[in-house]
Symmetry: C2
Subunit: 433 residues, 2 copies
Amino acid sequence: MLSLQDCQALDRADPLRVLKDQFVCPPGVMYLDGNSLGVMPKATPGRIRQVVEQEWGQGLIRSWNSAGWVDWPAQIGDKVARLVGAGPNELVVTDSTSVNLFKVLSAALAMARHDAPQRDQVLSERSNFPTDLYMAQSLCQQHGMRLVLVDDMALAPALSERVAVLMLTHVNYRTGAMHDMAALDAQAKAKGILTVWDLAHSAGAVEVDLRGSGADFAVGCGYKYLNGGPGAPAFVWVNAQHASRFWQPLSGWWGHERPFAFTPGYVPAQGIARYLCGTPPVISLAALDEGVNTVLAAEPLGGMPALRKKSVALCETFIALVEQCCADHGLRLVSPRDAAQRGSQLSWCFDTPAPQALAVSQAYAVVQALMARGVVGDFRAGDGASQPDLMRFGFTPLYIGFETVWQAVMHLKAVLDHREWQRPQFQQVQTVT
Amino acid sequence: MLSLQDCQALDRADPLRVLKDQFVCPPGVMYLDGNSLGVMPKATPGRIRQVVEQEWGQGLIRSWNSAGWVDWPAQIGDKVARLVGAGPNELVVTDSTSVNLFKVLSAALAMARHDAPQRDQVLSERSNFPTDLYMAQSLCQQHGMRLVLVDDMALAPALSERVAVLMLTHVNYRTGAMHDMAALDAQAKAKGILTVWDLAHSAGAVEVDLRGSGADFAVGCGYKYLNGGPGAPAFVWVNAQHASRFWQPLSGWWGHERPFAFTPGYVPAQGIARYLCGTPPVISLAALDEGVNTVLAAEPLGGMPALRKKSVALCETFIALVEQCCADHGLRLVSPRDAAQRGSQLSWCFDTPAPQALAVSQAYAVVQALMARGVVGDFRAGDGASQPDLMRFGFTPLYIGFETVWQAVMHLKAVLDHREWQRPQFQQVQTVT
């Protein structure tokens, strides 16, 4: 049996606990939603003030050079690269994850068409994040290819000679289930299939070794575990072997070999710079830079392996406490029970139907009731069939501690024990990202 | 002959002069580069602080609803619509100009392929802004079409039955020459040609009547005359007749009919919302909103017609003063002399070669020497043939007054009269956007 004192002892023994001082954690909030939107670093407001009031306000157009704005997509990209096992000059921050996915999947399809024209399928997972599927749907339509969606377990057998590209999100946004990237990259490579990885729920949360695994393309999100702020720019990485081989179709002027020569014909820059497109969003990039810095601050304390170790311990503690305190409420862990097979989040569903007719799902109402108590997680609707409605809790090891996990589970216990979720105010449907 | 006193009298008589109080204008800077990057509104730092420290910092994920972030792309879009003759629900702010151009040109080509499959050309202007040409080049390659580039005067005769889309920038980034949008839209429509307009140098600077002119598609920039900050989100407009007809290929989740239903199949939203793609950049949107507000503040004072009238008067004053004070230095106005045919900028070149060999172009060195005196314009290199090297000066009527024009020309006169531009420090090449 775990006690509050045990959790407090875990916090005292945690070498990463000092990293929380980098963040503004609103009082009374137990924030288990860093997988949707990371918490604000303390350094961000000052940095933004500097960029807005000094660099823009006073420096104006001159700051593209004098403040170095022009170099930020590559410089911040080099920092993100250290978190995902990529090398310098291999990764840039730009655009949204969706737009970057369009770029890399386009390039992958162009490569496949050139190297293996008989392949006519893009393979992905049915429960992949929708925007990835929508972009793939669009590109498959354009290229006359077929988007084949299968369940997790059916992926390996589906890696056939017809598959041009395997496109996956490394950590599933619903369940937190994590693919074995190295194994899938190796299997894909053995069959001549290119891989495209979405690291939205991985970068800053779990160890990723893009170079070592032999991946071909990757994109990821700046506003989740990288703490870059709402709608932060995303990142894009291309294996250095491919980066200069093909154009990506969003051939904007920032991806040109000489953007400021203003020549009428497009000549792509060498390497990853050709994955840039329009003018970079300077203010948002500054916020992203500060967010990435909070993760890099873990490097002297063990870096991503240490963060991962803590993340696993936080999740294990949450599971143990839920099993200990919330039995008999029909809760079921949907995330893999084996920590090696999941990312930094836990998803739960209710196995039994709610005891009375509700306007909303029980999982939805419980998430709302928890929110009223300051425990912020989120709800993801199921499909009414095999995929259940979920309560989703993310554990960002940079700023979540074991006592917070204890408190969150105690609130969950209270919501369930006292049936707080049945109150009418928790059954108002809202849009939540 | 115009005197300083005349310029001061023009300022006193200017009903728009109060609008300058909305901006932080750095002391000693005569900023004639608002066509590259608009000046910072005074309201912006406070608004960003609110968004970052309160809405993100305290509200966290909840602010997507409680602060209304989710609605900003449409709400700010409706504001921009008022500046370009578009209606409500017809325009959104999102992504970069380059990415938005890709969306609308893709949709236009899909429409053309459906309605007039024999047409195989995209027609544009040779001196169009490069990113527009690069994106068109990419899409023409994809669609098996030809990008035909002609000079301004050859556009009308080139509107043949082979042309699917006429893609133009309304105000030329180099020369400031402005197309007659209504006339070209009418000519194009008469020949069954779709029009795509880039309003980067128009929105907030000149009167635009998208609906009235019968245009089909338009995009534009948030960081020039809309004062949205460096790399601000751009906008995209589609004629309501077409908006729901075709997908644009960047079919991300924010363009889905029900983004938060997380369904695996893409169903585009009705109307302009389908031109959204990834998660919107909230902090940058807040800055853009404040920028757009500074232009809307002119509405009680006559709005865009009044701004345009002042812009023309500023340009005419600059021309008159240059002719009066800087004769005999070989300066030639490259922008159209007729105000009705140009936007809110003036470009000049040197007609005679520099009197001695220089490491850089004379125009470049003069721009650098002016910069050292606080007069910020910019340099655009020519092509070594028909297009000369340019000195470019933008006149944003919101914050530029007639006395500033006087001062700027006096500095130009001093730089030329004393040959300051020959000093070595003005011949260091830098990248300037």
